[in-house]
Amino acid sequence: MPKPVRLGLTGIHPRSEAFIQVSRDFDRGRATKQDLEAALSREVADVVRLQGDLKFDAVTDGLYRFQDLFRPFSERAKGLTVGALTRWFDNNTFYKQPVVSAAPQFDGKAIAPYAPSGTPPAGAGWKAVLPGPVTFARLAEDRYFKDEEKLVLSLASDVLNPAVRELARQGFRFVQLNEPAIVTSAAEDFGFLNEAIEAVFAGVSGPETAVHTFFGDATPYLEGLFGLEVDFVGFDLLETPGAALREFGGVEQGIIAGVVDGRNSFLEDPRDVAKTARELYDLAGDPGLVLAPNTDLEFLPLDLATRKVERLAEAREALLTEVRA
């Protein structure tokens, strides 16, 4: 029985030129909230349709309601506020820094306005992408705990866990935590990271779980990452050499293979992508492989992003043909 090879989106999807115009108009007081909502619904429908057509197993709504990865929480959680505009890693894209000024507390139901609703495409389930607790803590301004470990564990237990529980209750199929900070600013202590990831998923059954890393080379952290209690661990294969994963050897978890570059317009050859993925296929545990963009695709205009997603699907077909042979 061959292992599954699936497709996944990594995070925030780019906006269409039509939506960009409406949102600019809204920002300048020339379009109404209703205009914006209608345009947003069209964006969501388009990205869901794209994934459905390409036979994605777990489908995101493009995270179109996330102004940045933290915003649902910095807008809605008690103890958090929306802070200064800050560079998102080494990109010309910015997020508003969550400011922690009291003990954080998030009502899980508050995630609903930011999450997809309704029926996913036939045969698919919904996928949620949320910030991992380490990235959340390292990119926040901590005026309350002044202690990274305490902040990480509180964000995991009191903010992210209620959201994940709610998503599980709503029947989400896949919950992915994006953790670029683990590989860009060094995660010295996987002890508390493991504890934090367990806290995020505590009491949650149903969805498959994942921690995905990008923007940095995960080679030094492989042992810690594969020690996490999740179904999938993800890598940016532009940064993490496939050879490092091969050297590490087979693992129990599935692997999210970030095989197309979300930060360059250069279109990958699906045969090359399939070749890279083939080398990881044998290493992955029973959950199999998810072929994905290495990062969010929002660093590309929508047209290019769509073509990259289509190439991802072509690569999967090429890989499956080879595996079956």
Binding site: R24, L85, T93, F94, N264
Partner: protein, 384 residues
């Protein structure tokens, strides 16, 4: 070669564009209120009647402006920008970049070797149009010459031309051309491809532009590099690019960087040549409490980097937060300046400016901020 008095006040780049200018250029109706707004600002800033009266006549048309009328409206916008800065009391001015669409799109549209793909988000509902570098970057036209000629004709204060630097143009473009030549996509290969693109832009696009500006009489050129510290490993070739852009040219050249960790610049920036000044953002990270001690001025902590590294350059000191409507009191501006003097040890090394361009503020807020910047510099002079 700073202006004659201590703490000369300068702008950094963009100003908000007046509503009548934006609407007319976007083919949206210009209202009677817009015309009144033009009159009011003209009176306040001393825009001459030979600019105001023809402008008002044109704007009264309301809509359907011809190409020639739009050109005249752009020219009037530039006069408004110059007079706005001069009447606020600045010593060194430009036109508030009234002719430019945006600091990346404007130069890329006027250079060869790039292809625009579409918009990407910068944050929230802010976007920029992003291009790929699809062939060797080439000079097509000197894209700031018309501006300089116009500003030189209309400005009473010293003009300074802001120009986006090679590294930022490279970093904000998708690097296709040079990456395609590499045999792999390893980190080393990408770094080398980025170095090649940055230096090609510096050599083929930025340097010819600056040469043209200097030939046309530019005495001050500010190279804007907001991306410079984005990727610390790339700072060394960003420095090379600056040097290539201005090597052997006569004039005062400065480097503007903002919203960055300036520690990442060192020691590489010590290799900058023909760079007289860093114009840096500090106010954004500072407290609003008055005072001249290190505790009261946390935003200016990185000023000490210059002394620690023996870097003798002047500082264009950011004393206005461009992302806030808070109007800095003159006393706060004064204290920021006096603290910088204390750290740098020489008042002649301090020029004062906003952290960055003020385009995200309203005309009203930006003007009040600039007026207080000038008053704060006066208070600092008096205190010394």
């Amino acid at each position: 070669m700073t202006a004659a008095r201590l703490f000369p006040a300068q702008e950094i780049g963009s100003l908000p564009k007046p509503g009548w200018r934006v609407k007319a250029l976007a083919d949206r109706p210009v209202t009677a209120a817009d015309v009144e707004d033009a009159r009011a600002w003209a009176k306040r800033t001393g825009v001459p009647n030979d600019t105001l009266h023809p402008l008002v006549e044109t704007l009264r048309k309301g809509s359907g402006f011809t190409g020639r009328e739009k050109e005249a409206i752009i020219d009037a916008g530039a006069v408004f920008g110059i007079r706005y800065l001069e009447s606020a009391g600045l010593d060194i001015v430009y036109d508030g970049e009234q002719r430019r669409s945006e600091m990346y799109q404007h130069p890329i549209e006027r250079s060869d070797g790039f292809r625009f793909y579409g918009h990407v988000r910068s944050w929230d509902y802010k976007y920029y149009k992003r291009a790929g570098a699809v062939s060797e970057p080439r000079f097509r036209e000197a894209y700031h010459l018309d501006e300089l000629a116009f500003v030189s004709k209309h400005a009473r204060a010293d003009p300074k031309v802001p120009i986006t630097g090679a590294f930022t143009l490279s970093d904000w473009s998708y690097n296709e051309h040079f990456l395609a030549r590499k045999t792999d996509r390893s980190r080393e290969a990408r770094l080398e491809a980025n170095r090649e693109l940055t230096l090609a832009i510096a050599r083929n696009v930025i340097r010819p532009n600056i040469e043209a500006l200097v030939r046309a009489g530019a005495k001050r050129v500010q190279i804007d590099e907001p991306a410079l510290t984005t990727k610390p490993a790339e700072v060394p070739f960003a420095v090379q690019a600056f040097n290539e852009s201005v090597r052997g040219l006569t004039g005062r050249f400065s480097l503007h960087i903002c919203f960055s960790d300036y520690a990442k610049l060192y020691p590489h920036v010590l290799d900058l040549r023909n760079c007289a000044e860093y114009a840096l953002e500090y106010a954004n990270r500072d407290s609003r409490e008055p005072g001249t001690t290190a505790e009261k001025r946390p935003g200016y902590a990185q000023l000490s980097l210059l002394g620690e590294h023996g870097d003798p350059r002047d500082i264009g000191l950011g004393v206005l937060d461009v992302h806030s409507d808070f109007i800095e009191p003159p006393e706060l501006v004064r204290d920021r300046i006096l603290y910088a003097v204390d750290v740098l040890g020489d008042p002649k090394r301090v020029i004062v400016n906003p952290d960055c361009g003020l385009r995200t503020r309203s005309l009203e807020v930006a003007y009040a901020k600039l007026q207080n910047l000038v008053k704060g510099a006066e208070l600092a002079r008096a205190a010394l």
